[in-house]
Amino acid sequence: MTETVLEKKVDEKWEPKIIAFLCNWCSYAGADLAGVSRIQYPPNIRIVRVPCSGRVNPYFIIKSLTDGWDGVVVSGCHPGDCHYISGNLVARRRFAILKELLEFFGIEPGRVNFMWASAAEGERFAVLIRKATKIVKELGPNTKFQKEW
């Protein structure tokens, strides 16, 4: 990663940088479908492919924020559709707690977004990414959580 996510010039041109953890079986394919179907969505996300949304450890999310990413998106298969049967159900409980805790600790809840998108839902994927980008953009850059130098 040579991109400078740390430098933040906040002006009207500022665009958030969002890291997206997409499950290999649904959401990543969904993103792919959005691409091949030429559905436009904001170029703010950087995708990390993970085997399952259950693979997403809260460390990933918090580490991303301390590293200076403005937002995090985690996307997996719809409940019941998990390739590994219950990975996303386990993940869902984890996310529920993490989301509440982040809010409780004073991190804007909109910085971390969870969603379901199947391999057939290119359109839905694009819509949700648009929505997530909008939320994060409104929150502004993530400065307080980022590790200072």
């Binding site: 990663m1 040579t2 991109e3 400078t4 996510v5 740390l6 430098e7 130098w149």
Partner: protein, 353 residues
């Protein structure tokens, strides 16, 4: 004699004299904890504290300290040394036990092996200590047993005594005498002030209730490495780092590279570490020389009361009692040392019998 009087409301004035030349550190209350911090407002200074929660070692050996900084290029590295070591430091309101701890630390950092810890030693060299006598030692204090004294002036540059309404000011070292001379606005001390300070010193010394025979402890430790008493001693320990972090003579540290990978720069830092953590000695191979709590507890006590005396002929403890008052599991150092002292005696008696 060069004894002067400083009025309690003149601390601000004193601070002004030093502020431009020195980084002025003094005890302040931070959420109920006394810590030594760089002073911005002299009104924050608290001098009638019992014992600071975090020892003033944090000034010269902070919990996190940069060793050097670096920038990474494609195929090159540039290293920048510390530039701030020449700054003058003044520590105001330090207690004799803590001042002595600086000597112990400097001794350790300069003595072992061929290498000297230049970062610490340089800072120490540029440090001036304005200490204050300890009128009310705590019941956990035992400095008199480890060669200290609540009014020990030896390691200070300037020494203050709290006389109630005023402070008695004495220049101790050459540097300190010069400083006192420069503060021409201080009034001269009367004989009764000096007398009172001596009374306070005696009173303080007498008020120390914890007494131990450190010679006996040191000699007992030499032979009791395998003694079952260690099992008992380590029983209640929960393995946290409070004792080591808050000990004024604990010097162990961990070295970490912190890299800002987005900007190709970083710093190598050292942070306090504790021998009570099981990771402290864990080797990459998985082998751990001190795998159990028993061994780790023993190492801490042996280090202060056996290894240190063997290597430097000094005790590695200044008797500040912080580890006693702060231990979450109340694994009291006094009890530990008492056990070490006693159990040997029983064996001696057996031999006599």
């Amino acid at each position: 004699m060069e004894q002067k009087i400083l009025k309690k409301d003149e601390i601000g004035k004193l601070y002004k004299e030093f502020e431009s030349e020195y980084n002025f550190y003094a005890p302040i209350s931070q959420k109920g904890n006394i810590v030594f911090e760089k002073i911005e407002n002299p009104e924050d200074i608290v001098l009638d504290y019992l014992n600071s929660k975090i020892p003033p070692k944090s000034v010269l050996f902070p919990q996190m300290e940069v060793l050097f900084e670096y920038t990474l290029d494609e195929k090159d590295v540039e290293i920048t040394d510390r530039q701030d070591l020449d700054q003058k430091i003044l520590i105001f309101g330090i207690r004799p036990c803590d001042a002595y701890s600086f000597e112990l630390m400097a001794n350790f950092f300069s003595f072992h092996g061929n290498w000297e810890d230049e970062i610490y030693l340089k800072k120490k060299e540029n440090t001036t200590l304005i200490g204050i006598g300890c009128n009310n030692p705590r019941t956990t204090c035992f400095c008199t047993s480890v060669g200290g004294n609540p009014f020990n002036k030896e390691n200070m540059d300037v020494f203050l005594t709290d006389l109630g309404e005023t402070y008695l000011v004495e220049g101790i070292s050459e540097k300190g005498k010069e400083i006192v001379n420069k503060l021409s606005w201080l009034s001269d001390a009367a004989d009764k002030d000096v007398k009172k300070s001596q009374e306070l010193a005696t009173q303080a010394e007498e008020s120390i209730v914890t007494k131990m025979d450190t010679d006996k402890i040191v000699s007992n430790l030499e032979t009791s490495f395998e003694h079952p008493v260690w099992e008992e001693i380590s029983e209640s320990c929960i393995g946290c780092g409070s004792c080591a972090y808050l000990c004024p003579t604990c010097t162990c540290f961990d070295v970490i590279d912190e890299t800002d990978q987005y900007n190709n720069r970083g710093r190598r830092i050292r942070i306090w570490d504790t021998c009570q953590s099981c990771l402290y000695t864990l080797e990459t191979s998985g082998h751990n020389p001190r795998n159990t709590k028993i061994q780790r507890c023993r190492n801490r006590i042996m280090h202060k009361f056996s290894y240190y005396p063997t290597n430097y002929d000094l005790l590695g403890c200044v008797g500040c009692g912080r580890c006693i008052s702060v231990c979450p599991a109340n694994n009291d150092l006094r009890t530990i040392l008492d056990k070490i002292e006693k159990i040997e005696k029983e064996e001696d008696e057996k031999i006599v019998a």
